[in-house]
Subunit: 288 residues, 2 copies
């Protein structure tokens, strides 16, 4: 409604409530300029915030961006970053409505805040899962982790996985869809499926058991794991950065096919895989 | 409505529109940990964003904070910062509803995004000033600049001015008040009165002439200027960081006493002081 150029922007919030989330990305820690283009960094920084909005069941409406740039940063790099922000937002009909630029002494700093509108729906939090609910995921798991492992190992090939690390593709529309379908809890998988489902288990006071046979292991993932002597299921269970959505639904919910049922909510407090508990060692506990 | 702990927070936006603004503060550039306590840095970081919301004519409702912290940052420092955020927000009835913490390699990074509600009012932008309008300010000018000059010079004394540098006190309630009074343009003075009024002149296509005799020069400011052989009017005209509000009003507007008339809008495009133009050299042009 009012974009950059004033003290503040004005964004439509027809619901009468607004969803808001923020992330800070630091060069070297969250991205590397030698591994990702400015454009991809912009896409990724926007994506991880837009995915958080989607994970509440809301439609993203706008982002604002705070940038810290070292003196030597070229305008082409900044333009690429801005293009990335804009194009990722365009995927969901959102806009970049404001920002702030400062000179940083050392390394690029990117702060993104995303807003969203619930369209009258109740927000889907982490605390509503109930024993008997289905656990389902939408989007990719383990791809970004595999891509990062390939980059770290200096391995060529598997462009789809490296691309997944550089530029996540969150299933944005699946968040509001899940809310309409009656999801009881939802989050976006940013730290790994096991760890993030642990948040739902804790906040909802339930246990979650995943069916290892139901977890998707597409070809590129198993092939890359073979090339690196890695375990693809470990990437799927513990890899972050794909920004899949994980949600729980009442057991009779008719789920569309892009929501893949991978487990079940029960009484208790643990996250297990095929009934085996996930201890402090994480994934290692399931492996033989 | 929903605070920290989920993918995103939920904030009431009864107006159906939401005001949003963001700022990035970098250690060494925007604050120094040896000059300001964590608490004061938190107060200041919140204040400058809440003031931007107020300058649109809106009531601040919430902030979210992204923090980059070096490994050695103590919890007491972080607690002090959080207290500062919370207490500055409490001044306006707003809350800290979410955040993100990352490990930074070098220096504290603070990204603050503030939201606000217009309560049905039109936003007051920078583009509505018309020839004949009054120019008025609310809040302090030059105090923070004087405090910074005292710190840079290592001068003792004048605690009120040093305090003004460490912790601005924006006149929050005056922003929505100005909107109700029919302000035609408004902004918060963050870069200096001349420079910021230049934004109104440019966006509105008008000139602005300030009356030097009307500009407030309180005792501590003239005394500190005497001690440093500085010009207090220069601090008032070019000093930022006090986050006063500057607004234009139709000339017959009955202004309450905390809105001080300091100038007049005219035809043209320049900002002048007592009829003398402000060129690229800024304040130097007015001095003799």
């Amino acid at each position: 409604m009012l974009g950059p150029g004033d003290d503040a922007a004005l964004v439509s919030a027809p619901d009468g409530r607004v969803v808001v989330t923020t992330d800070l990305l630091l060069e070297g820690r969250h991205f590397r300029r030698d591994w990702s283009s400015a454009y991809d960094i912009g896409r990724k920084a926007a994506a991880q915030n837009l995915a958080d909005v989607s994970a509440m069941g809301a439609e993203p409406t706008a982002i604002v961006v705070g940038l810290g740039l070292p003196a030597a940063t070229g305008t082409a790099w900044v333009d690429g970053l801005a293009d990335g922000f804009r194009e990722e937002c365009a995927l969901v009909g959102a806009s970049v409505v404001g920002g702030d630029i400062a000179r940083s002494a050392d390394g690029v700093v990117i702060g993104v805040t995303a807003l969203g509108d619930l369209g009258g729906r109740a927000p889907v939090t982490r605390s509503g899962a109930r024993p008997g609910d289905l656990v389902a995921i939408a989007g990719r798991l383990g791809h970004a982790a595999a891509g990062l492992a390939l980059l770290l190992a200096g391995r060529e090939g598997f462009p789809e996985l490296v691309e997944a690390h550089r530029r996540p593709r969150p299933p944005y529309s699946c968040g509001p869809e899940a809310a309409r379908l009656g999801a009881t809890a939802m989050l976006d998988v940013s730290d790994g499926l096991l760890q993030d489902l642990g948040h739902i288990a804790e906040e909802s006071g339930v246990s979650i058991d995943l069916d290892p046979a139901a977890l998707p292991l597409p070809g590129p993932l198993t092939e890359a794991a073979g090339a690196l002597a890695a375990d693809p299921l470990e990437w799927v269970l513990t890899g972050g950065d794909d920004h899949a959505l994980a949600a729980t639904f009442p057991q009779d919910t008719p789920l569309p096919p892009h929501w893949l049922v991978v487990g079940r909510v029960g009484e208790g407090s643990e996250v297990t895989v095929g009934g085996r508990p996930a201890g402090p060692g994480g994934w290692d506990h399931f492996r033989e």
